[in-house]
C-alpha cells in the first residue's frame, strides 16, 4: 500500500540547471562541478602508473588497450555498425606493426603510426563490401572475419604462421608504453566524444537511426561509413600495435575471440553511446578480470555473465546511472 501512495521523483540539481545551457558560469563551484568529472579521472589515470607496481601497470595497459577497443566498438555502434570482431582491428594493427618491425626492422616510432593508419585503411577496405549489411548480418561478418584471417595465417604460414613473430622491438622504458597507452586511450575518448557531438557525428548517428533518410539528404552514407570504419579501425589498430611492441610478440591469437567479446562486455557494462561508458566499463572489467585470474578459465565465463546481466538488467549501462546520481537527486514524495 505504501508503494502506491508514494513515488520517486527525480530533480536536476540546481547547479546543473544553471550550468547546462548558460555558458558564462558564475562561481568557482560551478566551474568545478563541470570540470571535476573530466579532470579528476584524467589526473588519476595519469598519476596512477607512478604508484603501481610493475604487474598492475601491465594491467593498466591492458585496461587501456581494451578501453581503446571498447571505444572503437562504441564509435562503430554509433553509426549503426554493430561489430562482434574488434579483434579484427586489433589483429591487423598488431600484425602490421609486427611485420614492419620484423621484416624491415623499422623502429617503434614508425611502426605504430603506420600500423594505426594502415590498419584503419585496411579495416575500412576489408569491411566495405559488407557495409550495407546492418545489425545481425554485419555482426556475423565481423565475427567471422578475424577467425578467417586467423585460419589463413595458420594454414598458409604467413607472418610466422602459428608461431608468430617474436623478439620484436620493445619500448625503451616501461613507463613509455604505459603512458602511450593511457594517452592514446584518453585522446581517443575525448576525440570520439568531440566528433560525435559535431555535425559530422550527427550524420553518423543519423545513419544509424535511418539511413534512407540520410541518403535522401544527398549524403553518401557508404563513404561516411567507411570513414567511421577507418576511425574505429585506426583506434583498434593502434591498440594492437601498442600491444605488439609492449610484448615484443605478435601471433595469430591477436585475432582471438577475447578481443572481440571483452570490449562488447565493457560497453554493455558501462553503457553504450557515450564513450565514457565504454571507458568506464573497461576500467572496471579489466582490473576485475585480473583479480579473478586465480580462477583460470572461469574468468571468461564470468565476463559473459557480466555481459548477459548488464544487457538484460542494466540496458542503459552503469555510466548513465552514475551520471544521474551526479546530476540529479531523488526524493520520495507522496502522491496527492
Amino acid at each position: 500500500m505504501a508503494e502506491r501512495d508514494f513515488r520517486k521523483k527525480r530533480l536536476d540539481r540546481g547547479i546543473k540547471a544553471r550550468s547546462d545551457t548558460i555558458f558564462a558560469v558564475a562561481s568557482t563551484k560551478e566551474i568545478l562541478y563541470l570540470l571535476a568529472p573530466r579532470f579528476v579521472p584524467v589526473a588519476i589515470l595519469l598519476l596512477l602508473p607512478l604508484f603501481l607496481e610493475s604487474y598492475w601497470n601491465k594491467v593498466l595497459v591492458y585496461a587501456c588497450i581494451y578501453g581503446l577497443l571498447a571505444l572503437s566498438w562504441d564509435f562503430l555502434a554509433s553509426c549503426g555498425l554493430f561489430s562482434l570482431g574488434q579483434s579484427l582491428f586489433f589483429g591487423l594493427g598488431a600484425y602490421i606493426a609486427g611485420a614492419l618491425n620484423y621484416y624491415f626492422h623499422l623502429p617503434t616510432v614508425v611502426t605504430i603510426p603506420v600500423a594505426t593508419l594502415a590498419g584503419g585503411v585496411l579495416c575500412a577496405a576489408l569491411l566495405s563490401p559488407v557495409m550495407r549489411l546492418r545489425g545481425v548480418y554485419f555482426a556475423m561478418v565481423t565475427l567471422m572475419l578475424p577467425l578467417l584471417l586467423m585460419k589463413v595465417v595458420e594454414t598458409t604460414g604467413v607472418f610466422g604462421g602459428t608461431h608468430g613473430l617474436s623478439s620484436l622491438a620493445g619500448f625503451p622504458h616501461e613507463m613509455l608504453a604505459i603512458y602511450l597507452a593511457i594517452i592514446g586511450f584518453l585522446v581517443c575518448l575525448f576525440l570520439f566524444r568531440r566528433i560525435m557531438n559535431a555535425d559530422y557525428g550527427l550524420i553518423l548517428r543519423a545513419i544509424r537511426d535511418d539511413d534512407r533518410s540520410v541518403m535522401s539528404g544527398g549524403i553518401n552514407i557508404y563513404w561516411r561509413k567507411s570513414q567511421a570504419l577507418f576511425i574505429a579501425g585506426a583506434a583498434g589498430s593502434f591498440a594492437g600495435a601498442l600491444m605488439t611492441h609492449h610484448y615484443q610478440f605478435v601471433g595469430m591469437s591477436t585475432f582471438a575471440l577475447d578481443y572481440s567479446i571483452l570490449p562488447v562486455a565493457a560497453v554493455a557494462l558501462g553503457g553504450p553511446g557515450t564513450f565514457a561508458g565504454a571507458a568506464l566499463g573497461s576500467m572496471i572489467l579489466v582490473p576485475l578480470s585480473e583479480a579473478l585470474r586465480a580462477l583460470g578459465g572461469l574468468r571468461i565465463a564470468i565476463y559473459c555473465g557480466i555481459l548477459i546481466v548488464s544487457i538484460i538488467l542494466l540496458p542503459e549501462g552503469f555510466f548513465h546511472y552514475l551520471a544521474r546520481k551526479y546530476h540529479q537527486f531523488e526524493r520520495i514524495e507522496k502522491i496527492k
Binding site: 555535425d199 543519423a206 533518410s213 539528404g217 553518401n220
Partner: protein, 262 residues
Amino acid sequence: MTTSSNEPILRVERLKKNFGGVLAVYDVSFELKRGEFLGIIGPNGSGKTTLVNLITGFVRPSGGRVLFKGKNITGKMPYKIADLGIARTFQMVRLFYNLPAYKNLIIPLCSSRVRRMRGGKYGEKDDEAVDLLDDMGFERDSYVPYKQVGTLPHGYLKRLDLARAMALRPELLILDELFSGMSMSEVASTLPLIEKFNREGLTIIMIEHRLKELFRVVDRVLVLNFGEKIAEGTPDEVMAEDEVKKAYLGIDVEIPPDPGTA
C-alpha cells in the same frame, strides 16, 4: 505556370517493378518539363510510392529507364540521385526524433551538393537551418525550431520534412503525400509555399490523395491504377475519362497509408 525551357528535366521510360511476382509498377512512361508541376494520383496500392522510390533510387527497377536532365540515373544509389538534384519527402516522415528540429536540416546541409552550390564551402549550418525553417513558417523567435522533433505535432513534422528536402536546393522536388495527416489549416498554409517554389522555377511532382487541393496547383495529372498508367493530362481531361472514374469510384477515401510501404 510553366516556364520556358522545352527540354524534359525528367524522363521515365517503360519503368517496371515486380516484387516477387507482384507487379507494382508496369510500363510507366512520362516526361516532365523544367518548371512543370505534375500530380500523380491513383487508388491505394496503385504503385505511386513505388514509382517515387524507383525514381529516387530507393528501389531498383526490374526494367525501364529513368533519365534526369538527359542523364541515365536508373538504379543509381539514392544519395547519388539526391546529389544530382532530386529531393523527396516521405509518406511516413523519416526524421530524427531525438534531435532538435533545426538539426535535422544539418544533414542535407552537409551534403556535397550544397557545398558545391555554395561555391565550395559550407556556411554557418545552424543559422542556415534556422533560416530555412523560418521560410517554412517555423518562426525563428519561437521555441519551435529548437524543440526536439519528437515533441512536435504531426503537421509540423510534414513541413519539417519538406524543409529537409528543400535544404538540398533541389531542381526536382517529389512530394509523397505531403498533406496526409495535415489539418485543413496546415494544408492551407503549406500549399501557397509549394506554389511559390514552383513559381520560382522548381519542378515538382506531387503525389496526393486530396484531389481538390492537388488539382488547384498542378499543370498536369498522371493516373495510376494497379501499377499502370491509365490516364495523363490536365485535371479536367483526366477526370473525364471513364477508366479513371471507375478506378476512383467509391475508393476516394482517405485511408491511412500502410506502414512499411514508404
